[in-house]
């Protein structure tokens, strides 16, 4: 069922990690004041080491302020790390997206939490989805139009949506447009930063269901960031728990839920379980 262009782990018996983070740290508040005095700074990430294998979904779980979005932005090349190394397919990944090759930028795609902010309100949806096609594949306007329609179908949206503006469609549909834009680049690694937490529950489910289907059909690797352990359990092969910038625990899903080792993981799990009556 897998489309031909997606063969990220063909013929690799023991696949090497697709993405490796070695001791990645990040600080906030490195901005200079007017007179060059350093602003207040705080550690956002401390010595985070992780690996993600081809075709794998790794969920990054933590409360707000735990540094999980920062991690996604560092991998996407949108924010510099203050220390550590990131390797992608065996090579070191340049920190700044502009210093990466076009192929690297194409293969690593990021989807943001809030589609209201991640889609340009002044661009029609077709233009938004078509831009990566133009940039990475140099498609002509006619080829783009055809591909945009395919992509809209892929995210279960009617093709006339290409002519609409983001504010003319619902929130869940907007997030699916953002997904279509990411898929347009034919990525290998998709960074999903809380992509359903701004959506209503049933809309959330429809977006997750769609992403699950796409993942199953394409073998995409996912770094799936969420604060909801249940969503992480639905989606992930492994779960990494982040607490105040430090990685507490990384474990396969069933292991983590059966025997959480870190006290914070245990507390998080307890907060997700119903207290008074079984669900």
């Amino acid at each position: 069922m897998r489309p031909a262009f997606y063969s990220p782990n063909a013929g690799a018996p023991a696949p090497l990690p697709l993405l490796t983070l070695e001791g990645v740290s990040a600080r906030y508040g490195q901005t200079r004041g007017l007179l060059g005095r350093p602003g207040a700074s705080a550690d956002v990430l401390r010595q985070v080491s992780l690996s993600l294998h081809p075709g794998e979904t790794l969920a990054l779980v933590g409360e707000s302020g735990s540094g999980k979005s920062t991690l996604a932005r560092i991998v996407a090349g949108l924010q510099p790390a203050s220390g550590g190394r990131i390797c992608y397919r065996g090579g070191e990944l340049p920190a700044d997206a502009h210093k990466r090759s076009a192929d690297l930028r194409r293969e690593i795609q990021i989807i943001f939490q809030n589609p209201d902010s991640s889609l340009n309100r002044r661009h029609r949806i077709g233009r938004t989805i078509g831009r990566p096609l133009e940039l990475f594949f140099g498609l002509s306007a006619r080829e783009r139009e055809k591909r945009v329609i395919d992509l809209l179908h892929a995210v279960r949206l009617p093709e006339d949506y290409a002519w609409r503006y983001p504010e003319e469609v619902s929130g869940g549909e907007r997030q699916r447009v953002a997904l279509a834009r990411a898929l347009a680049a034919q990525p290998r690694l998709l960074l999903c930063d809380e992509i359903v937490s701004a959506l209503d529950v049933s809309v959330q489910a429809s977006v997750l269901a769609l992403l699950g289907t796409i993942k199953a059909q394409t073998g995409l690797s996912l770094l799936f960031i969420t604060h909801d352990l249940a969503v992480a359990r639905w989606f992930a092969d492994r779960i990494a728990v982040l607490y105040r910038g430090e990685l507490c625990e990384v474990a396969p899903v069933e292991e983590l839920f059966a025997a959480p080792r870190h006290p914070y993981t245990q507390a998080l799990l307890a907060a997700h379980r119903p207290s008074t009556r079984p669900f």
Binding site: M1, D200, S202, T213, A216, A230
Partner: protein
């Protein structure tokens, strides 16, 4: 906490065939359609539904708010037997804050940043409990702050809202709603956007408050799991109607209405696999577009 409960256990909230419309362009569009809702004293009812289903409108009406461009086209809302639409603004003010407490979605931003917690709480008491003298007001404020889980209420009273974390601000907002000892507590999505642990702490606190008082709770949320921990009953709203109303366990285990079934199935649960996995793994041709890319 003491509250004056009449001997007859009449429903505290009684909404009857309520239709509410908003003006849009030149026409009136219904957002609430022939809605019936009865809430007994001491009950905790969860009102679930998604954006635009009319639940926030219902909360605003229960608070006796009127807005330009909105009208009650039919039906009535009664709180403790009073038809809210017949009350004067002064009577409504007596009801709001005194007998109906309200916790908005963003507890933190609902607190005036330039006033100390003590002032915030005492202002409510000055307005709604004029019989209390200054020392009694302070004592009542302190007592309420302790009741919402501040281990050092005297210290907390002297601080400003921004000196507290998001979860603590939420609890201060709850204390503000409860300090005048209302009979009805309305909570509008107080846990939306909060971390699991903060959400859990708030729910545990509300469960404790229920145990110690007779307060009636209406908790509005789109999160069924949160509601399930607190509420006796869950009402599910869709397109301005209540489409399902049953005991919490029954709604969650055997939802009847198609919309309710969809909503219940959509809730991420730790104890169940995602319901779509079968379909997705079969690769049943749901995404022809991707394959032809």
């Amino acid at each position: 906490m003491t509250s004056s409960i009449p001997s007859r256990r009449a429903p505290l909230v009684h909404v009857e065939r309520l239709t509410v419309e908003y003006r849009q362009g030149g026409t009136w569009r219904p957002v609430i359609r022939e809605l019936d809702l009865t809430i007994g004293r001491g009950e905790a009812v969860g009102l679930a539904g998604e954006s635009g289903c009319g639940k926030s409108t219902l909360v605003s009406l229960l608070l006796g708010e009127t807005r330009p461009g909105r009208r009650i086209a039919a039906g009535a809302l009664r709180v403790d037997g009073h038809d809210l639409s017949t009350l004067s603004p002064a009577q409504l003010r007596g009801l709001r804050g005194r007998r109906i407490g309200f916790v908005p979605q963003n507890g933190g931003t609902s607190l005036t940043p330039t006033r100390r917690v003590a002032t915030l709480l005492e202002d409510v008491l000055r307005a709604h409990r004029p019989e209390l003298a200054a020392p009694a007001r302070r004592a009542r404020a302190r007592e309420q702050l302790a009741a919402v889980g501040f281990p050092d209420p005297d210290g907390a009273l002297q601080r400003f809202p921004h000196q507290f974390s998001g979860g603590q601000q939420q609890r201060i907002a709850l204390a503000l709603a409860l300090v005048s000892e209302p009979e009805l507590l309305l909570l509008d999505e107080p846990t939306t956007g909060q971390d699991a642990q903060i959400r859990r702490a708030l729910i545990d606190l509300l469960v404790e408050i229920r145990r110690q008082s007779e307060v009636t709770i209406v908790f509005v949320s789109h999160d069924l799991l949160t509601l399930s921990d607190l509420c006796d009953r869950i009402d599910i709203m869709s397109e301005g109607r209540i489409v399902e109303s049953n005991a919490t366990a029954a709604v969650l285990a055997r939802p009847v209405h198609p919309y309710a079934r969809r909503l219940v199935a959509a809730v991420p649960r730790l104890d169940a696999p995602p319901p779509w996995r079968n379909g997705a793994e079969r690769g049943d041709g749901l995404l022809p577009g991707v394959a032809t890319l």
